[in-house]
């Protein structure tokens, strides 16, 4: 699983449909045995990228290399990758066995070997004994497994999965996330999955490429995406976040962000800081679980948040909503300027006793704020 050899190289790939640029000069690499996710909202180009790899679409520019071989121009049936379709695309007129054997039969595999390998893969997806059923006799979850088995049986170098769990109900979906991950370990095949569901990507993937409007914004591990988002889009798309925007002011060692809502300290080691110059449009991202709440009258509780008793940032507002989420409670704070901040507090911990209507101060330790470039800001003159 730790083999890091590069398997797929996508080089400057562009695909247009009429005036729409579905995939816009995308470049990235996918490693051998990796569970790689393409994550983004619908219409971001992730499925098109998958279909380009499968060979159902041809790129307008760029190269798609698999193991050093260019796939462009190669018919889909000659490519050593298999795809699991969002609709499952099971052949309705064939039994489960024949569906799965279809790919092997195209290779003129011997009868006994087909029998053996189909049964093997049926067992792998826990559908032993289902061989003689027809697709319409199966539940959604069973169909999903057949589709998976059919794509796996040829032992492709890469398995492409197009929203494989989208059609399942929530409980089954969560089960299958772990199941797919287990399966990927078992078979040792590179999985490339397309999904719009960030939870799915974070749970399953080793690395995630976040896409928006035809471009890849960031490729990183799930932790890194959550802890150190590289852009405002990624920060707001992955998980919940509080985003405080402004202009960066660098005066020697003192780095601050000057926004309309206030001035905040920026940690010297904040990831992303290095790339930004004085006056750049930037934002601080604070995850809800990093935000501490205290009644406005009380002194901002300084003893807890900073590890070394460091600097603390603060915004003031009124608590407007509280939602119980099981182990945590979500607090919504209406800030003075009408925007909202989210805090997530462990149930029963300090700060978990506030009632809606209470004026509160929300604080975070400087090192918990992630500095990012604010690509959504208008390029106005610096210095707000």
């Amino acid at each position: 699983m730790e083999a890091h050899r590069e398997l797929i190289r996508i080089e400057g790939v562009t695909k247009r449909f009429g005036h729409l640029v579905a995939v816009d000069t995308v470049s990235t690499t996918i490693r051998e045995n990796e569970f790689f996710a393409l994550l983004g909202p619908s219409g971001c180009g992730k499925t098109t990228l998958l279909r380009l790899l499968a060979g159902f679409e041809a790129p307008d520019a760029g190269r798609l290399l698999l193991d050093g071989r260019d796939l462009v121009g190669m018919r889909p049936y000659r490519r050593p990758l298999n795809m699991m379709f969002q609709s499952y695309a099971l052949f309705p007129h064939m039994t489960v066995f024949d569906n799965i054997a279809y790919g092997l039969r195209q290779e003129r595999t011997g009868r006994d070997e087909i029998e053996r390998r189909v049964n093997e893969v049926l067992a792998l997806v826990q559908l032993g004994g289902f061989g003689r059923r027809r697709p319409h006799q199966l539940s959604g979850g069973e169909r999903q497994r057949v589709a998976l088995a059919r794509a796996l049986v040829k032992r492709p170098q890469v398995l492409l999965l197009d929203e494989p769990l989208a059609a399942l109900d929530r409980k089954l979906r969560v089960e299958m996330q772990l199941e797919l991950k287990r399966l990927q370990h078992t078979v040792g095949i590179t999985f490339l999955i397309v999904t719009h569901d960030q939870e799915e990507a974070l749970v399953m993937a080793d690395r995630v490429a976040v896409m928006d409007r035809g471009r890849i914004l960031q490729v990183a591990s799930p932790d890194e995406l959550y802890e150190a988002p590289g852009s405002r889009f990624v920060a707001s798309f992955i998980g919940e976040s509080n985003i405080f925007a402004g202009r960066l002011r660098i005066a020697g060692d003192a780095v601050t962000l000057v926004g309309e809502r206030g001035t905040w300290h920026v940690a010297p080691a904040a990831p992303g800081h290095a790339g930004l110059a004085d006056g750049a449009a930037a934002a601080i991202v604070v995850r809800p679980e990093r935000l501490r709440l205290a009644p406005a009258g009380a002194r901002a509780s300084l003893e807890d948040p900073g590890a070394g008793g460091g600097l603390v940032n603060r915004v003031d507002g009124v608590l407007s909503d509280v939602a119980y989420l099981g182990s945590t409670r979500k607090y919504v704070v209406e800030l003075r300027d009408g925007t909202r901040a989210l805090a997530r507090v462990q149930v029963g911990q300090r700060g978990d006793d506030l009632a809606p209507g209470t004026p509160v101060g929300a604080t975070w330790a400087v090192e918990h704020g992630v500095l990012i470039a604010d690509e959504t800001a208008s390029p106005a003159s610096p210095g707000a």
Binding site: M83, H93, K154
Partner: protein, 263 residues
């Protein structure tokens, strides 16, 4: 009692019954008469199958029936092949109302117009320029013309629910385009194709006007019946008509079973 009289279900049922009676009473009379010993529509003299027996030995009728079956079978085969491919092309590659209309018109313009058009065309091109005589082939071609329309329309209803990703799945699993058509596309739409063929066959079997104009000296079954009927309805014709009704009914039922969505 009042409540039952006002029950809309009862009135709907009665309405349905009346409509069916209106549609089928003449046919029922025909079928009954075909078993009438005397053969006269005026008096029932007893049950008999003698008219069927006399049809079976009538060589003119049998010969015409054979010709009609040949015409129907050949035109159905050709029209089904062309119509199915046309349906695939129209459904997959085009989105053009004018084109759809152009394909459908030959099926719905009055037969007499199509018949005259075909006759003029045949006379001009085939008999005029090539010196060919009208006959079996020209009826077959004429029937192919309107049957393509119906085959295309029926197969398209089937294709509208066709999940194109199963073809992509087939390509993805290593089958080329030809294998994909043979193993995936055709088997999945086959019920629709067979239903279309059955309808085409039925239409061809009892088609009169177009055949009459384009058959030359060939005598098809409907033309034979027409020539017999000119001297009055003979009981034999009742028997023949009954057979045709039964066969048509069976074919239509079979077609609907295969393709439940077709109108």
């Amino acid at each position: 009692m009042r409540a039952r009289l006002l029950d809309p279900g009862r009135w709907l049922g009665a309405h349905l019954g009346l409509v069916l009676l209106f549609l089928y009473l003449p046919i029922a009379v025909l079928i009954v008469l075909s078993f009438n010993e005397s053969g006269l529509p005026t008096a029932w003299t007893g049950f008999s199958t003698r008219w069927y027996e006399s049809v079976v030995v009538n060589e003119k009728i049998l010969g015409a029936a054979a010709i009609t079956i040949v015409i129907a079978a050949v035109s159905t085969l050709i029209a089904t092949a062309i119509g199915t491919l046309l349906a695939l092309g129209l459904e997959r590659l085009t989105n053009n109302a004018l084109l759809d209309g152009l394909v459908f018109v030959p099926g719905i313009i009055p037969d007499i117009v199509l018949a005259i058009a075909l006759l003029s065309f045949y006379n001009l091109v085939f008999t005029g320029l090539l010196g060919l005589k009208l006959g079996l082939w020209s009826v077959i071609v004429a029937h192919v013309v309107f049957n393509i329309t119906f085959v295309t329309a029926i197969v398209r209803t089937r294709l509208r629910h066709f999940d194109i990703s199963i073809e992509e799945a087939s390509l993805d699993l290593g089958a080329n385009e030809v294998t994909t058509f043979r193993k995936i596309t055709l088997p999945v739409i086959l019920p629709g194709v067979i239903a279309a063929a059955l309808v085409a066959f039925t239409l061809s079997v009892d088609e009169f006007v177009v055949a009459f104009f384009t058959a030359g000296t060939t005598i098809t079954f409907p033309i034979q019946v027409y020539s017999m009927i000119r001297f009055g309805v003979t009981p034999e014709i009742n028997a023949i008509a009954t057979v045709v009704v039964v066969v048509s009914f069976v074919l239509v039922l079979a077609s609907q079973r295969l393709n439940p969505e077709q109108v």
